[in-house]
């Protein structure tokens, strides 16, 4: 294969991966904006907002209009058929899929009902200081009911949660021999992944803003990595959930996270009576 062909293939692949997803923004009422977005592989990405009402440029965002970078958010110029569509760059460059980012954008664009401030945008000062929870769990032990206390807290903060399960190969699998041994590990891992999906589905029944991440590796390393990728505001460790790791106790894990995390860490203790 010629080097040029390989380069072309690589460029094609990159082109495929970094294609700009078009987000169609439908404004039904002035009080609500719905975004419909296809799934994409990568972020950050520019978002094209195809809509007639330019008032709905996200708070804190920037957009291109007539080749000029506009920074006035709620008083955009009047559109006309000749002018190009505004080009909105999201301020939150998160490694999330487009659907999630679109939901975040929708949230930014929403005019929340507020008795004191009806019809006006809720300013950044009135927003929850914590909006993204990362909850490491051991999916083989945790049930949806165990998560309810944390979900109440997340609900109070109006936050979205990400359940993280870090898969570690159980030590007993060290005794597995023969050609089928790797398959056993794969099956066990897939079982854990399926349980996580099932748990997330059940949690979504009473807490809609729930996602999950399944990773393989060292528990603290993967928690820290996930918190950085997801731009989590808070890592929640409830001692009652008994995170099982072969190398780390929950207390050791907490200390490690407190020392190394780039976001806040919340510990919910067992309490004095236990």
């Amino acid at each position: 294969m010629k080097p040029l062909t390989i380069v072309t293939q690589v460029l094609d692949y990159l082109d495929l991966r970094i294609k700009i997803p078009k987000i169609v923004c439908l404004q039904r009422k002035r009080s609500h904006v719905k975004l419909i977005a296809p799934r994409a592989n990568v972020t950050p990405f520019p978002v094209v907002v195809a809509q007639s009402d330019y008032d709905a440029v996200p708070l804190g965002g920037m957009y291109w209009f007539n080749g000029q970078l506009q920074k006035r958010y709620w008083t955009a110029p009047t559109p006309n058929p000749e002018t190009p569509e505004p080009f909105v760059r999201l301020i939150t460059r998160r490694a999330l899929d487009v659907q999630d980012t679109a939901s975040a954008l929708t949230d930014q664009l929403s005019f929340k009902k507020n008795p004191r401030n009806d019809g006006r945008v809720i300013s950044a000062n009135n927003r929850s200081p914590i909006r993204r929870f990362l909850i490491p769990i051991d999916v083989l032990e945790v049930k949806p009911v165990d998560l309810k206390p944390i979900l109440k807290v997340a609900e109070r903060f109006d936050a979205e949660i990400t359940l993280l399960h870090c898969y570690e190969i159980p030590p007993s699998f060290g005794y597995a021999v023969g050609p089928l041994a790797p398959m056993e590990v794969t099956l066990h891992r897939d079982m854990a992944r399926t349980r996580l999906l099932k748990l997330c589905t059940e949690v979504r029944k009473f807490f809609a803003k729930c996602r999950y991440v399944f990773v393989v590796g060292s528990l603290p390393v993967e928690i820290l990595r996930a918190s950085a990728i997801l731009h989590a505001d808070l890592i929640v460790i409830a001692l009652s959930l008994d995170l099982v790791s072969h190398s780390w106790t929950t207390r050791e894990l907490l200390d490690e996270l407190v020392r190394k995390a780039n976001c806040s860490v919340l510990e919910i203790p067992l309490g004095p009576s236990v």
């Binding site: 206390p149 808070l234 200390d255 919910i268 203790p269």
Partner: protein, 158 residues
């Protein structure tokens, strides 16, 4: 049992009325206090800014001059604590400063118990290798002793 207890503590957190923020009055304390104020404001809770003054071990064998130096240091930290409280008071309606002496982790957990605090906020600023080696980081110790949920704040880019 564990779940019930977790539910009780989470319930406290959901209806937070009293927040204790433990500061060390270093350059990061202002950010920590303001973060705590944001959370207290979100819950419409009272905020208590606590500082624990640790007496140096040499004070046990001190001469008069040493006591004078410690007294002077006390007055300085009290003034800084009041100044910080005044700054934060703009964000939260009920904000008080609490000055304590002793071991930080013990004093903070005792204060939280006495006040019936629903949340303790403290900060950790990625201590150096030596600080970790000598176990100087207070946040994990506070976590281990606290009677209520503890939130360890990390200021961005520290």
């Amino acid at each position: 049992m564990k779940i019930l207890e977790a539910e009780r503590l989470s319930g406290k957190l959901v209806s937070t009325k009293k927040v204790v923020v433990a500061v060390d009055l270093t350059k990061h304390s202002e950010a920590t206090a303001h973060y705590a104020a944001q959370i207290a404001k979100w819950f419409n809770a009272s905020l208590y800014i606590a500082y624990v003054f640790s007496l140096p071990p040499s004070s046990e064998f001190g001469i008069e001059d040493a006591y004078n130096v410690i007294d002077q240091e006390r007055q300085e930290v009290r003034a800084r604590l009041d100044q910080l409280t005044e700054q934060v008071h703009r964000d939260v309606s009920v904000c008080e400063s609490v000055y304590l002496e002793g071991e930080p982790e013990e004093q903070i957990s005792a204060l939280a118990s006495d006040l019936g605090a629903d949340l303790i906020i403290t900060a950790s600023h990625h201590p150096t290798f030596l600080a970790r080696l000598f176990n100087l980081d207070k946040a994990p110790k506070i976590m281990h002793l606290a009677p209520c949920p503890v939130l360890v704040y990390h200021q961005e880019n520290t």
